[in-house]
């Protein structure tokens, strides 16, 4: 069996957390809180390890011939400058440090959002050509319909109850659809979690 100790730890910890959710009493609750606290610390350490890995990958891409990427040295320089500024200014809560980081990050992310909007509009236009079918037609029709509905163009107070009811049904339809999809996702999450609890899925090699 692969990684028996890690598997046993994962199963026991998973069962305690699950039990703490359904039976929140005494020792189970205390154990659950302690374990969740440890998980938060571990997640923080994992982020640090992940960043070290990021630096390693880009160092390799900056130095190894055949793998060179012109953006990797830029990333390393900016990373070191940010870390240096963070230490020099007393940490990420320093207002000057936050101002400098935001002055770089916000314009870059806004630009990417704009690119995303254009990419999405282009993808929606190409959708029918690429994947012609009933689902694609329904998708495009409902996208246009809900854009119109949410823009307020159809929000006329005509006083006609039938029209009001029809618009009300149309407004509620996406909520019903989303609930259906979420139900499927919840069941999928449940069986995935149970596979880990049963030791079938082991995302750790031990």
């Amino acid at each position: 069996m692969r990684a028996p100790v890690a598997t046993a730890v994962a199963i026991v910890v998973g069962l305690i957390i699950l039990l703490g959710y359904f039976v929140p009493v005494g020792i189970v609750l205390v154990l659950r809180d302690v374990l969740l606290g440890w998980a938060i610390v571990l997640a923080g350490m994992a982020a640090l390890v992940g960043i070290i890995n990021l630096v390693k990958v880009h160092w390799r891409k900056s130095t190894v011939r055949g793998e060179r990427d012109p953006y990797s040295p830029v990333l390393l320089i900016v990373f070191l400058a940010t870390v240096g500024a963070g230490f020099a200014l007393g940490g990420p809560s320093n207002p000057t440090f936050q101002q400098v980081v935001n002055a770089v990050q916000i314009p870059v992310e806004t630009t990417l959002t704009a690119v995303l909007a254009i990419a999405l509009a282009y993808a929606a236009m190409r959708l029918l050509g690429r994947r012609m079918g009933l689902m694609a037609i329904v998708f495009v029709t409902s996208t246009v319909l809900y854009l119109l509905l949410n823009s307020g163009i159809l929000a006329v107070d005509s006083g006609a109850p039938a029209l009001k009811s029809a618009l009300g049904v149309l407004q509620r339809l996406p909520v019903a659809g989303a609930r259906g999809i979420l139900l499927g996702i919840a069941l999928g999450s449940l069986t995935t979690g149970l596979r880990v609890l049963m030791g079938v899925d082991r995302p750790f090699s031990g």
């Binding site: 692969r2 990684a3 699950l18 359904f22 039976v23 929140p24 009493v25 998980a39 571990l42 997640a43 350490m45 994992a46 982020a47 390890v49 992940g50 960043i51 890995n53 990021l54 390693k56 990958v57 390799r60 990427d69 990050q105 870059v108 990417l112 959002t113 690119v115 995303l116 990419a119 999405l120 282009y122 993808a123 959708l127 690429r130 998708f139 989303a178 259906g180 999809i181 979420l182 139900l183 499927g184 996702i185 069941l187 999928g188 999450s189 449940l190 069986t191 995935t192 979690g193 149970l194 596979r195 880990v196 609890l197 049963m198 079938v200 899925d201 082991r202 995302p203 750790f204 090699s205």
Partner: protein, 256 residues
């Protein structure tokens, strides 16, 4: 005073029912009998299997984008599915000249991706293929993750991209880049906005619970198929309960 409310009792019942169903469905059929459970064809997953074979033949690379944390915990159920998918892809493509590369937007997920690759190669007796640099953290915010992943699609001879996990609308940029590179892209996310944009932007997209079926379609094992059967049974049971509840509500009978 009882600490178990009706809602938690229903939840607990659902968990126990799912566990029992999964166990029962995972049992082998009786001697002389064949299982009559067949996976329904999903176009995206059939194309993924074809793309995997082609990548191995062509000596090109597969890129598995594992997404980011879903905000609830460092690793979500969708991330676990993504790791199972990565494991199967690594095993299937272990004979390829170019091993797959995994990108993630969360530290814990990147460590797990490295561990998954290590375990997958060990399982097929090819431990020498393991390279920790193939399980990468590419960025910790949604857009930095995308910005860090785009060079992988562009520069690393990638012929197929599998975007599986918790992916928001920003993942459309990854799908779009894959199309520009003429690479196959299959996308599956547990986020509703992510699913909507990926349906439009990706070459193939999985909707709703289809995400959780990916490992079963890549033949990860009988227990994954059993999970799908259990999901189907529970879904129909829930549909029945919802319809019964609606009828009772119309009749003015209140249960909960």
């Amino acid at each position: 005073m009882s600490v178990i409310t009706l809602e938690t009792a229903i939840g607990l019942g659902l968990v126990v029912a799912a566990a029992i169903l999964m166990f029962l469905f995972s049992l082998p059929p009786r001697p002389g009998k064949r299982s009559n459970f067949a996976l329904r064809p999903i176009n995206g997953l059939s194309r993924l299997r074809r793309a995997l074979g082609l990548a191995v033949e062509n000596g090109t690379r597969l890129h598995v984008s594992l997404g980011k944390s879903n905000g609830v915990g460092p690793v979500s159920a969708a991330s676990l599915v993504a790791l199972s998918t990565l494991e199967r892809i690594a095993q299937i493509s272990s004979v390829s000249d170019r091993p797959p590369v995994a990108s993630s937007g969360d530290g814990a997920l990147s460590i797990l991706s490295q561990d998954t690759l290590k375990g997958a190669y060990r399982a097929v007796n090819a431990s020498e293929l393991y390279d920790p640099n193939r399980g990468r953290l590419t960025g910790v915010t949604p857009f930095s993750y995308v910005a860090g992943t785009l060079p992988i699609e562009r520069n690393e001879h990638v012929s197929a991209n599998v975007l599986v996990g918790t992916l928001g609308p920003e993942a459309a940029l990854l799908a779009e880049a894959a199309q520009r590179e003429r690479a196959f892209a299959l996308a599956a996310s547990d986020s509703l906005p992510g699913q909507a944009v990926l349906y439009a932007a990706a070459e193939e997209a999985l909707i709703g619970e289809e995400l959780y079926a990916v490992p079963a379609y890549l033949q990860a094992g009988p227990f994954h198929r059993a999970s799908l059967r259990a999901q189907d049974v529970l879904r129909w049971a829930l549909v029945g309960l919802i319809l019964a509840g609606a009828v009772l509500a119309i009749l003015g009978i209140k249960i909960l």
